[in-house]
């Protein structure tokens, strides 16, 4: 994440480097950014949904799930911008696209969270 952050606040600097890639690659990068942003939005929406539509879930558990989902969604959105900037820069410099553990980590977290909600609902850890 490190060097990418500087580019957030001086985005014009990306354009100073390397050569402008084929516009289709930039658009593909933009769509990937939007897909990640939608993932973040879905997590935020899921956080609201857990709080609003699982009224029988134990209060502190519900709070924990909600906060985790909201924070996860916000992180996802920030990471979307970061990854987009890094990919754009890599394309301009003609480097390989950046690798990331984020998708695997996110998939694991979402999977664990979903299993937890199902199990807790089944064993009836509710009010």
């Amino acid at each position: 994440m490190g060097p990418g952050i500087r580019l957030w606040f001086s985005p014009g600097r990306v354009r100073e480097e390397g050569t402008t890639p084929d516009y289709r690659f930039s658009l593909a990068n933009e769509r990937t950014f939007l897909a990640w942003l939608r993932t973040g939005l879905a997590l935020v929406g899921g956080g609201f949904a857990v709080d609003q539509f699982l009224p029988r879930l134990h209060g502190s558990l519900r709070l924990a799930f909600t906060v985790v989902l909201l924070v996860g969604g916000a992180l996802c959105a920030l990471r979307a911008v970061n990854h987009w900037v890094r990919c754009e820069r890599a394309m301009r410099r003609g480097e390989d696209l950046p690798l990331s553990r984020f998708p695997a980590v996110l998939a694991l977290c979402v999977g664990l969270l979903a299993v937890a909600v199902v199990v807790l609902t089944l064993i009836g850890w509710t009010n």
Partner: protein, 121 residues
């Protein structure tokens, strides 16, 4: 793209390929923006519902609901700006400012939602 694209639909001669990308990249990107605005609308509605359920005093509730609406409008305006530039044959890359704005709106909704959780319990 609007008018010229509409004209191309009625079985007329295809436009020169130099002008039109056969992969329809701008079109797909425009639809991706549309989907994203729709997702943001769903989240905004849920956030509004969250505000109404928070039990905050009336004026606070109204202010917060208006704020949620404003965030969504900012999101939609940014998306609309971007969708307009898709009309160009070779759209310029996404300005980082727009990317930051839409991501900021998402973070804002999440942070607002988290803040609403505090007083209620």
């Amino acid at each position: 793209m609007g008018a010229s694209q509409g004209a191309g639909r009625g079985g007329r001669a295809p436009r020169p390929t130099a002008e039109r990308d056969p992969g329809l990249q701008p079109e797909r990107t425009r639809l991706a923006w549309r989907r994203t605005v729709l997702s943001a609308a769903v989240v905004a509605v849920l956030a509004g519902r969250q505000v109404l359920r928070s039990g905050a005093p009336g004026p606070v509730e109204v202010t917060l609901a208006a704020l949620v609406a404003l965030v969504w409008v900012a999101f939609a305006v940014a998306a609309d700006l971007r969708m307009r530039t898709m009309a160009a044959g070779r759209p310029a890359a996404l300005p980082a400012r727009l990317a930051l704005l839409v991501a900021g709106c998402t973070v804002g909704l999440a942070a607002g939602g988290a803040a609403l959780l505090l007083p209620g319990r």
